[in-house]
Symmetry: C2
Subunit: 213 residues, 2 copies
Protein backbone atom coordinates (compact mmCIF):
# COMPACT_ATOMS: atom_id res chain seq x y z
CA UNK A 1 0.00 0.00 0.00
CA UNK A 2 1.35 3.36 -1.02
CA UNK A 3 1.94 5.95 1.64
CA UNK A 4 -0.15 9.02 1.07
CA UNK A 5 1.89 12.14 0.65
CA UNK A 6 -1.11 14.40 0.21
CA UNK A 7 -1.32 16.79 3.11
CA UNK A 8 -4.50 15.87 4.83
CA UNK A 9 -6.55 18.46 6.66
CA UNK A 10 -7.45 15.77 9.15
CA UNK A 11 -4.74 13.37 10.20
CA UNK A 12 -5.15 11.52 13.48
CA UNK A 13 -1.54 10.30 13.65
CA UNK A 14 -0.07 13.70 12.90
CA UNK A 15 -2.28 15.38 15.47
CA UNK A 16 -1.34 12.84 18.12
CA UNK A 17 2.35 13.34 17.37
CA UNK A 18 2.02 17.08 17.62
CA UNK A 19 0.19 16.77 20.93
CA UNK A 20 2.84 14.43 22.32
CA UNK A 21 5.68 16.72 21.27
CA UNK A 22 3.93 19.75 22.68
CA UNK A 23 3.12 17.94 25.92
CA UNK A 24 6.73 16.87 26.33
CA UNK A 25 7.89 20.47 26.03
CA UNK A 26 5.25 21.87 28.33
CA UNK A 27 5.63 19.18 31.03
CA UNK A 28 9.40 19.57 30.86
CA UNK A 29 9.15 23.31 31.16
CA UNK A 30 6.65 23.52 33.98
CA UNK A 31 6.31 20.12 35.60
CA UNK A 32 3.07 18.18 35.90
CA UNK A 33 1.24 20.70 38.11
CA UNK A 34 2.63 23.75 36.34
CA UNK A 35 1.83 22.50 32.84
CA UNK A 36 -1.34 23.88 31.28
CA UNK A 37 -3.52 21.76 29.04
CA UNK A 38 -4.55 24.82 27.05
CA UNK A 39 -0.91 25.63 26.48
CA UNK A 40 -0.25 22.11 25.19
CA UNK A 41 -3.18 22.43 22.80
CA UNK A 42 -1.89 25.77 21.52
CA UNK A 43 1.66 24.52 21.06
CA UNK A 44 0.34 21.48 19.19
CA UNK A 45 -1.90 23.67 17.06
CA UNK A 46 -4.66 21.31 18.06
CA UNK A 47 -7.95 21.82 19.80
CA UNK A 48 -7.92 20.98 23.50
CA UNK A 49 -10.77 18.59 22.85
CA UNK A 50 -8.33 16.39 20.88
CA UNK A 51 -6.10 15.89 23.89
CA UNK A 52 -8.97 14.42 25.84
CA UNK A 53 -10.15 12.47 22.80
CA UNK A 54 -6.80 10.77 22.21
CA UNK A 55 -5.18 10.65 25.64
CA UNK A 56 -7.96 10.63 28.21
CA UNK A 57 -6.73 13.23 30.66
CA UNK A 58 -3.71 15.25 31.74
CA UNK A 59 -2.20 12.52 33.91
CA UNK A 60 -2.52 9.83 31.26
CA UNK A 61 -0.88 12.16 28.77
CA UNK A 62 1.97 12.69 31.19
CA UNK A 63 2.39 8.95 31.64
CA UNK A 64 2.63 8.39 27.89
CA UNK A 65 5.11 11.24 27.46
CA UNK A 66 7.23 9.73 30.22
CA UNK A 67 7.11 6.23 28.75
CA UNK A 68 8.17 7.62 25.38
CA UNK A 69 11.07 9.46 26.97
CA UNK A 70 12.36 6.33 28.69
CA UNK A 71 11.92 4.25 25.57
CA UNK A 72 13.85 6.80 23.57
CA UNK A 73 16.95 6.87 25.76
CA UNK A 74 17.08 3.12 26.18
CA UNK A 75 16.66 2.60 22.45
CA UNK A 76 19.52 4.99 21.76
CA UNK A 77 21.64 3.05 24.26
CA UNK A 78 20.96 -0.23 22.53
CA UNK A 79 22.23 1.31 19.32
CA UNK A 80 25.65 1.92 20.87
CA UNK A 81 26.69 -1.71 20.30
CA UNK A 82 29.19 -1.62 23.13
CA UNK A 83 29.86 -5.32 22.74
CA UNK A 84 31.95 -4.67 19.62
CA UNK A 85 34.50 -2.52 21.46
CA UNK A 86 37.27 -3.28 23.96
CA UNK A 87 35.86 -2.94 27.47
CA UNK A 88 37.59 0.30 28.40
CA UNK A 89 36.61 2.03 25.17
CA UNK A 90 33.07 0.74 25.54
CA UNK A 91 32.81 2.13 29.06
CA UNK A 92 34.08 5.53 27.98
CA UNK A 93 31.64 5.52 25.09
CA UNK A 94 28.79 4.83 27.51
CA UNK A 95 29.84 7.72 29.77
CA UNK A 96 30.06 10.10 26.82
CA UNK A 97 26.73 8.91 25.46
CA UNK A 98 24.95 9.39 28.79
CA UNK A 99 26.35 12.90 29.18
CA UNK A 100 25.54 13.94 25.64
CA UNK A 101 22.06 12.49 25.79
CA UNK A 102 21.21 14.53 28.89
CA UNK A 103 22.79 17.58 27.33
CA UNK A 104 20.80 17.32 24.11
CA UNK A 105 17.57 16.17 25.75
CA UNK A 106 17.13 18.33 28.83
CA UNK A 107 13.40 17.50 28.87
CA UNK A 108 14.28 13.95 29.84
CA UNK A 109 15.81 15.10 33.11
CA UNK A 110 12.94 17.42 33.95
CA UNK A 111 10.34 14.77 33.22
CA UNK A 112 12.09 12.26 35.47
CA UNK A 113 12.37 14.87 38.23
CA UNK A 114 8.69 15.60 37.92
CA UNK A 115 7.81 11.93 38.07
CA UNK A 116 9.85 11.51 41.24
CA UNK A 117 8.15 14.49 42.84
CA UNK A 118 4.99 12.46 42.32
CA UNK A 119 6.60 9.35 43.78
CA UNK A 120 6.65 7.60 40.39
CA UNK A 121 2.91 6.97 40.48
CA UNK A 122 2.65 7.12 36.67
CA UNK A 123 5.60 4.84 36.02
CA UNK A 124 4.08 2.30 38.41
CA UNK A 125 1.21 1.92 35.97
CA UNK A 126 3.51 1.19 33.08
CA UNK A 127 4.44 -2.35 32.17
CA UNK A 128 6.88 -1.85 29.32
CA UNK A 129 9.54 -0.08 31.38
CA UNK A 130 10.91 -3.05 33.32
CA UNK A 131 11.94 -5.00 30.24
CA UNK A 132 13.74 -1.95 28.89
CA UNK A 133 15.88 -1.59 31.97
CA UNK A 134 16.54 -5.27 32.50
CA UNK A 135 18.18 -5.34 29.09
CA UNK A 136 20.17 -2.20 29.90
CA UNK A 137 21.48 -3.42 33.25
CA UNK A 138 22.34 -6.70 31.56
CA UNK A 139 24.32 -4.81 28.94
CA UNK A 140 26.42 -3.00 31.53
CA UNK A 141 26.82 -6.20 33.55
CA UNK A 142 28.16 -7.98 30.48
CA UNK A 143 30.53 -5.10 29.82
CA UNK A 144 31.88 -5.28 33.35
CA UNK A 145 32.39 -9.05 33.09
CA UNK A 146 34.19 -8.64 29.81
CA UNK A 147 36.46 -5.98 31.28
CA UNK A 148 37.39 -8.31 34.12
CA UNK A 149 38.19 -11.09 31.63
CA UNK A 150 40.29 -8.67 29.58
CA UNK A 151 42.18 -7.91 32.79
CA UNK A 152 41.38 -4.19 32.75
CA UNK A 153 38.44 -3.85 35.21
CA UNK A 154 38.30 -4.59 38.93
CA UNK A 155 36.03 -7.53 39.71
CA UNK A 156 32.97 -7.33 41.93
CA UNK A 157 31.47 -4.06 40.76
CA UNK A 158 27.66 -3.94 40.92
CA UNK A 159 26.34 -2.89 37.50
CA UNK A 160 23.36 -1.13 39.07
CA UNK A 161 25.55 1.01 41.33
CA UNK A 162 27.78 1.81 38.39
CA UNK A 163 24.84 2.77 36.21
CA UNK A 164 23.49 5.03 38.91
CA UNK A 165 26.86 6.71 39.36
CA UNK A 166 27.42 7.27 35.64
CA UNK A 167 23.99 8.82 35.39
CA UNK A 168 24.36 10.80 38.62
CA UNK A 169 27.54 12.72 37.81
CA UNK A 170 26.05 14.02 34.56
CA UNK A 171 22.42 14.38 35.61
CA UNK A 172 23.08 16.30 38.80
CA UNK A 173 25.39 18.76 37.10
CA UNK A 174 22.83 19.48 34.38
CA UNK A 175 19.60 19.45 36.38
CA UNK A 176 21.13 21.85 38.91
CA UNK A 177 22.83 24.04 36.35
CA UNK A 178 20.82 27.12 37.32
CA UNK A 179 21.38 27.07 41.08
CA UNK A 180 24.88 25.68 40.47
CA UNK A 181 25.89 28.57 38.26
CA UNK A 182 24.86 30.97 41.03
CA UNK A 183 26.35 29.27 44.07
CA UNK A 184 29.63 28.38 42.39
CA UNK A 185 29.74 31.72 40.56
CA UNK A 186 30.67 30.26 37.19
CA UNK A 187 28.66 29.54 34.06
CA UNK A 188 28.27 25.79 34.23
CA UNK A 189 26.90 25.72 30.69
CA UNK A 190 29.81 27.47 28.99
CA UNK A 191 31.33 25.17 26.35
CA UNK A 192 34.65 24.99 28.19
CA UNK A 193 32.89 24.15 31.45
CA UNK A 194 30.93 21.35 29.78
CA UNK A 195 34.07 19.82 28.32
CA UNK A 196 35.83 20.06 31.65
CA UNK A 197 32.96 18.35 33.37
CA UNK A 198 32.82 15.49 30.88
CA UNK A 199 36.57 14.92 31.27
CA UNK A 200 36.21 14.94 35.07
CA UNK A 201 33.37 12.43 34.87
CA UNK A 202 35.31 10.07 32.63
CA UNK A 203 38.21 10.22 35.05
CA UNK A 204 35.91 9.54 38.01
CA UNK A 205 34.45 6.41 36.47
CA UNK A 206 37.70 5.12 35.01
CA UNK A 207 39.45 5.38 38.37
CA UNK A 208 36.53 3.60 39.97
CA UNK A 209 36.37 0.73 37.49
CA UNK A 210 39.79 0.24 35.93
CA UNK A 211 42.64 -1.68 37.56
CA UNK A 212 45.21 0.90 36.56
CA UNK A 213 44.43 4.39 35.44
Amino acid sequence: MAVKTTKKIRDADATQSRILAAAKKEFAKSGLSGARVDEIADRAKANKRMIYHYFGNKEDLFRIVLEDAYTDIRTAEQALELEHLPAREALEKLIRFTWNYYLKNPEFITLVNSENLHKARHLKQSDKIEVLFKRFVGMVGALLDRGVQEGVFRPGIDPVQLNITIAAIGYYYLTNRFTGSIVFQRDLMAPAALEERLAFNIETIMRLVCLDF
Copy 2:
Protein backbone atom coordinates in the same frame (compact mmCIF):
# COMPACT_ATOMS: atom_id res chain seq x y z
CA MET B 1 15.65 41.34 79.41
CA ALA B 2 13.96 38.16 80.48
CA VAL B 3 12.61 35.84 77.85
CA LYS B 4 8.91 35.32 78.19
CA THR B 5 7.92 31.73 78.71
CA THR B 6 4.22 32.43 79.04
CA LYS B 7 2.35 30.88 76.14
CA LYS B 8 0.96 33.81 74.26
CA ILE B 9 -2.27 33.54 72.38
CA ARG B 10 -0.76 35.90 69.84
CA ASP B 11 2.88 35.42 68.97
CA ALA B 12 4.21 36.84 65.74
CA ASP B 13 7.51 34.93 65.83
CA ALA B 14 5.86 31.62 66.57
CA THR B 15 3.32 32.12 63.80
CA GLN B 16 6.04 32.98 61.31
CA SER B 17 8.00 29.89 62.29
CA ARG B 18 4.96 27.69 61.91
CA ILE B 19 4.26 29.18 58.48
CA LEU B 20 7.85 28.65 57.35
CA ALA B 21 7.87 25.06 58.54
CA ALA B 22 4.54 24.37 56.89
CA ALA B 23 5.63 26.05 53.67
CA LYS B 24 8.82 23.98 53.56
CA LYS B 25 6.79 20.78 53.82
CA GLU B 26 4.21 21.82 51.28
CA PHE B 27 6.69 23.17 48.73
CA ALA B 28 8.83 20.06 49.14
CA LYS B 29 5.83 17.80 48.71
CA SER B 30 4.26 19.50 45.71
CA GLY B 31 6.75 21.91 44.19
CA LEU B 32 6.14 25.61 43.73
CA SER B 33 3.21 25.29 41.29
CA GLY B 34 1.68 22.32 43.05
CA ALA B 35 1.84 23.84 46.52
CA ARG B 36 -1.36 25.43 47.80
CA VAL B 37 -1.32 28.54 49.94
CA ASP B 38 -4.47 27.40 51.75
CA GLU B 39 -2.79 24.12 52.55
CA ILE B 40 0.22 25.94 54.01
CA ALA B 41 -2.08 28.04 56.18
CA ASP B 42 -3.89 24.94 57.42
CA ARG B 43 -0.68 23.05 58.19
CA ALA B 44 0.63 26.09 60.05
CA LYS B 45 -2.65 26.46 61.93
CA ALA B 46 -2.57 30.06 60.82
CA ASN B 47 -4.93 32.21 58.83
CA LYS B 48 -4.02 32.59 55.18
CA ARG B 49 -3.99 36.36 55.65
CA MET B 50 -0.97 35.97 57.94
CA ILE B 51 1.08 34.47 55.12
CA TYR B 52 0.52 37.55 52.99
CA HIS B 53 1.04 39.79 56.01
CA TYR B 54 4.43 38.34 56.92
CA PHE B 55 5.81 37.08 53.62
CA GLY B 56 4.23 39.14 50.86
CA ASN B 57 3.20 36.44 48.43
CA LYS B 58 3.68 32.81 47.49
CA GLU B 59 6.89 33.36 45.53
CA ASP B 60 8.52 35.44 48.23
CA LEU B 61 7.64 32.76 50.75
CA PHE B 62 9.25 30.18 48.53
CA ARG B 63 12.40 32.27 48.24
CA ILE B 64 12.71 32.57 52.00
CA VAL B 65 12.12 28.85 52.52
CA LEU B 66 14.84 28.13 49.98
CA GLU B 67 17.32 30.54 51.54
CA ASP B 68 16.72 28.96 54.93
CA ALA B 69 17.30 25.50 53.49
CA TYR B 70 20.64 26.52 51.95
CA THR B 71 21.71 28.32 55.11
CA ASP B 72 20.87 25.25 57.16
CA ILE B 73 22.99 22.78 55.20
CA ARG B 74 25.97 25.12 54.88
CA THR B 75 25.82 25.90 58.61
CA ALA B 76 25.82 22.21 59.43
CA GLU B 77 28.84 21.77 57.15
CA GLN B 78 30.78 24.49 58.91
CA ALA B 79 30.18 22.65 62.16
CA LEU B 80 32.06 19.59 60.84
CA GLU B 81 35.43 21.20 61.60
CA LEU B 82 37.20 19.14 58.96
CA GLU B 83 40.42 21.07 59.51
CA HIS B 84 41.05 19.16 62.74
CA LEU B 85 41.21 15.78 61.02
CA PRO B 86 43.76 14.10 58.73
CA ALA B 87 42.82 14.85 55.13
CA ARG B 88 41.56 11.39 54.21
CA GLU B 89 39.40 11.10 57.30
CA ALA B 90 38.10 14.61 56.73
CA LEU B 91 37.12 13.77 53.16
CA GLU B 92 35.31 10.63 54.21
CA LYS B 93 33.53 12.57 56.93
CA LEU B 94 32.37 15.11 54.33
CA ILE B 95 31.02 12.36 52.06
CA ARG B 96 29.16 10.74 54.94
CA PHE B 97 27.79 14.08 56.09
CA THR B 98 26.51 15.00 52.64
CA TRP B 99 24.78 11.64 52.24
CA ASN B 100 23.22 11.68 55.68
CA TYR B 101 22.06 15.26 55.33
CA TYR B 102 20.19 14.46 52.12
CA LEU B 103 18.80 11.33 53.68
CA LYS B 104 17.46 13.10 56.76
CA ASN B 105 16.36 16.26 54.93
CA PRO B 106 14.65 15.08 51.76
CA GLU B 107 12.87 18.44 51.48
CA PHE B 108 16.19 20.06 50.69
CA ILE B 109 16.53 18.05 47.51
CA THR B 110 12.98 18.69 46.39
CA LEU B 111 13.25 22.41 47.01
CA VAL B 112 16.44 22.64 44.98
CA ASN B 113 14.85 20.65 42.17
CA SER B 114 11.87 22.96 42.18
CA GLU B 115 14.10 26.02 42.10
CA ASN B 116 15.98 24.64 39.10
CA LEU B 117 12.72 23.94 37.29
CA HIS B 118 12.19 27.67 37.64
CA LYS B 119 15.69 28.46 36.42
CA ALA B 120 16.80 29.66 39.84
CA ARG B 121 14.88 32.90 39.52
CA HIS B 122 14.31 33.11 43.28
CA LEU B 123 17.91 32.38 44.23
CA LYS B 124 19.02 35.10 41.82
CA GLN B 125 17.25 37.60 44.07
CA SER B 126 19.12 36.41 47.13
CA ASP B 127 22.35 38.05 48.20
CA LYS B 128 23.35 35.99 51.22
CA ILE B 129 23.86 32.76 49.30
CA GLU B 130 27.14 33.58 47.54
CA VAL B 131 29.06 34.17 50.77
CA LEU B 132 27.80 30.89 52.14
CA PHE B 133 29.16 28.93 49.20
CA LYS B 134 32.40 30.81 48.83
CA ARG B 135 33.27 29.73 52.35
CA PHE B 136 32.25 26.16 51.57
CA VAL B 137 34.27 25.84 48.37
CA GLY B 138 37.19 27.39 50.22
CA MET B 139 36.88 24.74 52.91
CA VAL B 140 37.05 21.89 50.42
CA GLY B 141 39.87 23.61 48.53
CA ALA B 142 41.88 23.86 51.74
CA LEU B 143 41.18 20.20 52.48
CA LEU B 144 42.45 19.18 49.04
CA ASP B 145 45.61 21.26 49.47
CA ARG B 146 46.25 19.75 52.86
CA GLY B 147 45.81 16.23 51.46
CA VAL B 148 48.37 16.95 48.78
CA GLN B 149 50.82 18.24 51.41
CA GLU B 150 50.20 15.14 53.52
CA GLY B 151 51.08 13.13 50.43
CA VAL B 152 47.74 11.29 50.30
CA PHE B 153 45.76 13.22 47.63
CA ARG B 154 46.48 13.67 43.94
CA PRO B 155 47.31 17.29 43.08
CA GLY B 156 45.32 19.43 40.66
CA ILE B 157 41.77 18.45 41.59
CA ASP B 158 39.23 21.25 41.17
CA PRO B 159 37.33 21.69 44.46
CA VAL B 160 34.15 22.75 42.63
CA GLN B 161 34.13 19.62 40.45
CA LEU B 162 34.77 17.49 43.51
CA ASN B 163 31.97 19.18 45.45
CA ILE B 164 29.58 18.64 42.60
CA THR B 165 30.52 14.98 42.32
CA ILE B 166 30.21 14.30 46.05
CA ALA B 167 26.77 15.89 46.01
CA ALA B 168 25.74 14.22 42.75
CA ILE B 169 26.31 10.59 43.72
CA GLY B 170 24.14 10.96 46.81
CA TYR B 171 21.57 13.45 45.51
CA TYR B 172 20.76 11.58 42.30
CA TYR B 173 20.27 8.28 44.09
CA LEU B 174 17.88 9.84 46.59
CA THR B 175 15.93 12.23 44.37
CA ASN B 176 15.30 9.44 41.89
CA ARG B 177 14.57 6.80 44.48
CA PHE B 178 10.99 6.31 43.26
CA THR B 179 11.65 5.77 39.57
CA GLY B 180 14.94 4.06 40.47
CA SER B 181 13.24 1.47 42.65
CA ILE B 182 10.96 0.60 39.75
CA VAL B 183 13.43 0.49 36.88
CA PHE B 184 16.12 -1.37 38.82
CA GLN B 185 13.54 -3.56 40.52
CA ARG B 186 15.01 -3.22 43.97
CA ASP B 187 14.03 -1.14 47.00
CA LEU B 188 16.65 1.60 46.93
CA MET B 189 15.56 2.82 50.36
CA ALA B 190 16.00 -0.49 52.20
CA PRO B 191 18.54 -0.04 55.03
CA ALA B 192 20.97 -2.50 53.41
CA ALA B 193 20.69 -0.72 50.06
CA LEU B 194 21.41 2.64 51.69
CA GLU B 195 24.51 1.30 53.42
CA GLU B 196 25.69 -0.29 50.22
CA ARG B 197 25.26 2.96 48.35
CA LEU B 198 27.16 5.00 50.91
CA ALA B 199 30.05 2.52 50.79
CA PHE B 200 30.07 2.66 46.99
CA ASN B 201 30.11 6.46 47.07
CA ILE B 202 33.00 6.60 49.52
CA GLU B 203 34.94 4.22 47.30
CA THR B 204 34.17 6.31 44.21
CA ILE B 205 35.49 9.52 45.75
CA MET B 206 38.47 7.94 47.47
CA ARG B 207 39.63 6.35 44.23
CA LEU B 208 39.20 9.67 42.50
CA VAL B 209 41.10 11.72 45.06
CA CYS B 210 43.60 9.51 46.86
CA LEU B 211 47.00 8.54 45.49
CA ASP B 212 46.64 4.94 46.58
CA PHE B 213 43.38 3.30 47.50
